[in-house]
């Protein structure tokens, strides 16, 4: 079962993991707002409509590539505090490698293929800045080409 969700409210990775079910192999990845570099607030802007479409296409591509029994992509948007979960991806399969690889694929590709933009605030009036894209993310995504 494929579930794709974009939500402004809190994301509970434990609940998402449980929702992936009890297949032989279940893998997951959760991204949290990092608290270690002075960020006080993270805002996630997205492109409504295109976001859902991009995530659904990503999910379908993973389900095509690996034999999966369940797949979830949940991405938060809006304002978040350090330590809060931004994104959860997970895959369930009868096969360990399929679950692990699909999970890595989903998070690597999500970072290049879905229209999200992060803005960080470190406090102070002019301290909000848009996060720059990292070349390492492009490299991680292209290894699945």
């Amino acid at each position: 079962m494929i579930v794709v969700r974009v939500q402004p409210g809190p994301l509970d990775p434990a609940a998402e993991l449980a929702a992936l079910g009890a297949s032989g192999a279940v893998a997951s990845f959760t991204g949290h707002v990092r608290a270690d570099d002075g960020v006080r607030l993270l805002e996630l802007e997205h492109y409504p409509g295109m976001t859902e479409r991009a995530l659904e296409e990503l999910a379908a591509a993973a389900a095509e590539r690996w034999p999966l029994s369940a797949l979830r992509i949940v991405h938060r948007v809006g304002a978040m505090q350090p330590g809060e979960a931004i994104v959860f991806v997970g895959a369930a399969s009868d096969h360990r490698a399929a679950a692990l690889e699909a999970t890595a694929y989903l998070i690597d590709r999500l970072k290049t293929d879905a229209p999200f933009w992060k803005r960080e605030s470190r406090g102070g009036p002019d301290a909000a800045s848009w996060v720059e894209r990292r070349a390492a993310d492009d490299e991680a995504a292209t290894r699945w080409d």
Binding site: G31, L44, E45, H46, Y47, G49, M50, R53, A54, H75, I86, V87, I107, L110, K111, T112, D113, A114, P115, F116, W117, K118, R119, W130, V131, E132, R133, D137
Partner: protein, 85 residues
């Protein structure tokens, strides 16, 4: 043709609005030409479009390269490289 143009992230902030509906002149063939044409609309547009290498685009909610043709587009979005996940 009337086209809906969307802006996101710092492109939106510089332009000053998130969306505008525009009648594109017929001579604009590609996203790159659209970017050049939009730059003349206001100071904000000029600032947002100053460096096309920093821009990415989507046509009808699909990523395209800057040399993609705009003919037939209903919705065109301009934005910085994505940073989700």
């Amino acid at each position: 043709m009337p086209v809906q143009i969307l802006y996101f992230a710092w492109v939106r902030e510089l332009v000053g609005v998130g969306m505008e509906r525009i009648d594109l002149p017929g001579e604009i063939a590609t996203i790159a030409e659209l970017i050049g044409w939009l730059a003349a609309r206001s100071e904000g547009h000029a600032a947002a479009m100053a460096d096309p290498a920093r821009l990415r685009a989507a046509i009808d909610q699909r990523f395209v390269s800057l040399d993609a043709p705009v003919a037939g587009a209903r919705e065109i979005a301009l934005f910085p490289p994505v940073t989700g996940g």
